[in-house]
């Protein structure tokens, strides 16, 4: 979350001319002008239009008038559309957006426009139609727009901000463990100060989860599950090897613990729980025992046990509210899909690691080939090629790491979370079950009372009446519990979905950002590869200077 003060526009070349040009355009739209640049959504679509060259070429009118005529935007030459498969899914996507209800109409229109722009852009790339507007113009535009948008930017404020840092190995041998520093920054008064930190170990986190799940899940809260225990990973760390896989393991765990805590504190009712406060504040926490049950397998077993209990219910629940049934089905489907996606992302990570290894090995081999080549120019070219491939290998390594840390971990988190959501639904079922059982017990008591009336035994009758009153109270209580849980579950699920959307969005953007950075460097390296090829090939007309000018290769 960057503060507005951090933003210093980079020095753009030739930012003067395009800026004035843009001003003219804005002024020309005198009545629309103010609106365009105040309204974020429209501004972005405007930018999109300008940055999509093939789009611009086919709808020149749209450029000068901004987004005021959205219908013109969607008029495209039919052949561009017909050839892209992506187009066939475009209508589905826009209808999804419309039915989603989260968006206003305004945003839905933009959504459709964006889809059209995407498809056009994409088909432009694949057909090689591209004629990019000069880089300077683009940068000038971006600069200008950001100046406008800076004022509107609202900072997200969190009441409580936690972070997990500085993993430290404490102790030696099999009794060693890793202690993490948990720092909290808060504006709430219920904590002892504004910023503080404590040291915690992994079993403390598990202990917190256990306490919370025992208490809160009875109310139908979705308690975020902690990362899984891993005997293999921990043993390696305990034995003290400083190899990269142990380092990676600890880093992965640290990041997962941080996400876990952040989810806990961002939940309004969990934040109020004294256990959470104790976890964040108290210097010495009593060691959590019995965390065996909370290992990865144990956690799953717990969830499945609950589901089994529900399935074994003799009385089938007559769902008066289909919302729950539908949601449950959805959750199950989603979990399945995320699992599939996670499996593929895992394989992607492995393949990237493989690629990294193979590139390194290939680079060395090429270097040796270059050495034994007797033609000097060719020898130099091959050696340079080998060097570049070596650098590429490091990039591939980074890409693999980011794939793993950001994307795969996110998916794994949400698969566990969906398990917790399912658990929450099961709690509601159990509450219903309790209610039904109480009702049937009450019924039996009533029948017993009737029989006693019939058999005329006054003292037993009195007892029976007392029991009936007791059970009537229970039935009412359980019914109220059931309703309450139902409402909480509903609220929780909606909240969960919103959080999930936000979480995915931000994580995926982080992922894209890191991919963008590495793409950047890959591009520079592939430029230098090309440079090497051509230079050492001594081709006429390819002087280094003209090369740089045309292809923007940085010096060195």
């Amino acid at each position: 979350m960057a503060a507005s003060s951090d933003r210093n526009p980079p020095p753009f070349p030739a930012s003067e001319e395009p800026e004035t040009g843009l001003c003219d355009m804005a002024d020309g739209d005198s009545d629309e002008g103010e609106d365009i640049f105040v309204n974020n959504v429209r501004l972005r679509a405007f930018l999109l239009l300008l940055l999509c060259p093939s789009f611009v070429q086919s709808t020149p009118v749209a450029v000068s008038r901004g987004v005021s005529q959205p219908d013109q935007v969607s008029e495209e030459p039919p052949d561009l559309f017909s050839e892209e498969e992506a187009i066939s899914t475009a209508p589905t996507l826009s209808t999804t957006a419309k039915s989603n209800g989260v968006h206003s109409d305004d945003e839905n229109d933009l959504f459709a426009e964006l889809l059209a722009a995407v498809d056009c852009f994409h088909s432009g790339i694949s057909k090689g139609y591209f004629v990019l507007p000069p880089l300077e113009l683009k940068c000038g535009l971006l600069y200008y727009c950001f100046q406008q948008l800076e004022e509107e930017e609202a900072k997200d404020s969190f009441d409580v901000d936690v972070s997990v840092t500085s993993p430290e190995k404490i102790g030696d041998g099999m009794n060693a463990y890793v202690a993490y520093k948990v720092s909290t920054r808060t504006s709430l008064n219920m904590f002892r100060s504004k910023t503080f930190f404590v040291r915690r170990r992994f079993s403390d986190f598990l202990g917190l989860y256990e306490k919370l799940s025992v208490k809160q899940s009875l109310h139908g809260c979705i308690v975020p599950p902690p990362p899984e225990k891993s005997v293999v990973g921990m043993t390696k760390v305990k034995v003290g090897m400083d190899d990269p896989s142990s380092v990676e393991f600890v880093e992965r765990r640290r990041a997962a613990l941080e996400r876990y805590l952040q989810r806990v504190v961002s939940h309004p009712s969990l934040l109020q729980d004294p256990d959470v406060r104790e976890f964040l504040e108290r210097e010495d926490l009593p060691r959590a025992v019995n965390t065996q049950a909370l290992s990865g397998a144990g956690f799953l077993k717990m969830i499945n046990k609950a589901s089994d209990a529900v399935n074994k219910m003799t009385i089938k629940m007559n769902e008066s509210d289909t919302w729950f049934e539908d949601k449950f089905q959805e959750v199950e489907n989603e979990e399945q899909q995320l699992r599939k996606l996670h499996a593929v992302v895992d394989s992607l990570v492995n393949h990237r690691k493989e690629l990294c290894m193979n590139t390194a090995v290939f680079a060395k081999s090429m270097a040796m080939l270059g050495n034994s080549e007797d033609n000097t120019a060719l020898s130099r070219a091959l050696s340079q090629l080998a060097e570049v491939e070596d650098k590429m290998e490091q990039l591939h390594q980074e890409q693999a790491a980011s794939d793993f840390f950001i994307f795969a971990e996110l998916l794994a988190d949400y698969i566990r979370m969906l398990g917790a959501v399912r658990g929450c639904f099961d709690q509601r079922m159990r509450a219903w079950q309790r209610w039904q059982e109480a009702q049937s017990t009450l019924q039996k008591k009533r029948e017993a009372e009737a029989k006693l009336l019939w058999a005329n035994k006054p003292d037993k009758l009195q007892q029976a009446k007392e029991e009936i009153t007791e059970w009537e109270a229970r039935v009412t209580q359980y019914e109220r519990d059931f309703d309450r849980i139902g409402m909480t579950v509903r609220k929780e699920v909606l909240r969960f979905e919103k959080e999930k959307a936000k979480d995915f969005k931000s994580q995926i953007i982080k992922y894209l950002e890191s991919m963008l950075q590495s793409e950047q460097r890959v591009m520079i390296h592939s430029h230098s590869k090309a440079y090497v090829y051509v230079f050492y090939s001594g081709v006429e007309g390819f002087s280094p200077e003209s090369w740089q000018r045309v292809y923007y290769i940085p010096d060195g």
């Binding site: 972005r44 940055l51 964006l114 940068c139 040796m368 959307a501 969005k505 950047q520 090939s537």
Partner: protein
């Protein structure tokens, strides 16, 4: 059944240079059919030479016919001093066929889009293998036609002209076994040869260089193949991810960003896939081709070394005969023959190896230029993908990220 058209072929001609320049004999493979395991090539010849019956003609040939031609040339004594162009490798559709099979089995578990995409990728791979094999066969013929001695070979002419099936002349099982045996003898020769003392500096240098270079290039080829396979695996993963993302349920979670992700994944996949296949075609093929060519050069050296060994043996026999005073004239004649053969081999061998070196450097250079052009093309695609990211990231609410990304982009200028 797949066929090829001319415009595609021009682009894939990557390995050799200037082979089809001599108008007196022009050969190409304009057409090829793939039926199950067998590939039928249509060899088309245009010639001004009178030794042929017609000025222009086409014949159908199979891979085995090419192998027969190669082996006949190798076995011809007169050509012992020449580098015989390496035989084209057998068309290998095993890889894509196996994948196609696996895809068919897994069809039930995949969505329709995923299946279609993977099928398309596989078809493209199949086509690439097909193009490669046509190219390799064509180059083999063109090397022969551009060689001043080999293009006059009678068997070569038969190969080009004979419009019936060549199977009668092809190897039968017995001969194949003989060929295998011969290979074993050759490797025994290799051990023998490295012990023979070399008289000529040029050949000594060449031998050392070729042996060393061969092992290095073989190594590089294998590593390059592994690398391009990794690229292909990653491209396949991207296809699967993007098709999963397209599905309805997941799109509900990600609002705007899903477009970015799906589109970016699709684009990335295409770039990765293209990078893989282009790298494959250029670098790996180049390395592979020259590996085989160097093997052919090595074969020349071995033949010469064997001739040298024969000559030395004949010397020894002559000495023995002189001692025993028996059969001296035969021994003398035998020695003379060996000497002549050895000299002839040395002379033509020197010429061949020198021209081979020049050819290799020129071909590498040409390939490097073409690879440069490909890299640039890919870099352009990559940079447009970056703009893509930016547009959409800006269109979500995460302006702070977009700002950072713009900064990164601007650093590029």
């Amino acid at each position: 059944m797949t066929t090829l058209d001319d415009s595609n072929k021009e682009k894939i001609r990557s390995v050799s240079v200037d082979l089809n320049n001599d108008a007196s004999l022009l050969i190409d493979i304009p057409d090829a059919l793939c039926e199950r395991d067998k590939v039928k090539f249509t060899v088309h010849t245009k010639t001004t030479l009178s030794s042929f019956q017609k000025p222009e003609f086409s014949v159908p040939r199979q891979h085995e016919d090419f192998i027969w031609l190669h082996d006949t040339l190798v076995e011809t004594e007169d050509y012992a001093g020449l580098i015989i162009p390496p035989a084209p490798p057998k068309p290998d559709f095993e890889g894509p066929r196996e994948k196609m099979h696996k895809l068919g089995e897994g069809e039930a578990t995949m969505t329709k889009e995923e299946y279609t995409k993977m099928k398309q990728e596989l078809e493209a791979e199949y086509l690439a293998v097909f193009k490669k094999t046509v190219q390799v066969h064509e180059i083999f013929l063109q090397r022969l036609s551009s060689h001043p001695i080999l293009n006059k070979d009678r068997n070569f002419q038969i190969f080009l002209e004979y419009d019936q099936d060549l199977s009668v002349r092809r190897k039968n099982a017995k001969e194949m076994f003989g060929g295998f045996f011969k290979n074993m003898v050759k490797s025994a020769d290799e051990v023998l040869i490295s012990g023979v003392k070399e008289v000529d500096d040029f050949f000594e240098q060449e031998k050392t260089f070729l042996l060393d270079y061969y092992s290095k290039i073989k190594d590089s080829t294998a590593k390059a193949e592994k690398m391009t396979r990794s690229h292909k695996n990653i491209a396949d993963d991207y296809i699967r991810i993007s098709s999963l993302m397209y599905q309805q349920k997941i799109t509900r979670i990600l609002i705007y960003t899903h477009i970015v992700v799906t589109m970016s994944f699709v684009s990335l996949q295409k770039v990765e896939g293209r990078v893989a296949s282009d790298q494959e075609l250029k670098l790996t093929e180049l390395l592979r081709y020259y590996m085989r060519d160097i093997q052919a050069a090595k074969d020349l050296l071995y033949r010469r070394a064997r001739a040298l060994a024969d000559y030395e043996n004949s010397n020894k026999a002559l000495d023995k005969a002189r001692l025993k005073s028996k059969d001296i004239p035969q021994a003398e004649e035998h020695q003379q023959q060996c000497l002549q053969k050895f000299d002839k081999l040395s002379e033509s061998g020197k010429k061949e190896l020198t021209s081979f070196k020049g050819r290799r450097v020129v071909a590498f250079r040409k390939n490097l230029i073409e690879m440069a052009e490909l890299e640039i093309k890919h870099a352009k695609v990559r940079s447009s993908i970056q703009l893509y990211y930016i547009c959409f990231i800006m269109c979500t609410n995460e302006l702070q990220y977009a700002w950072g990304i713009c900064k990164i982009l601007c650093e590029q200028i």
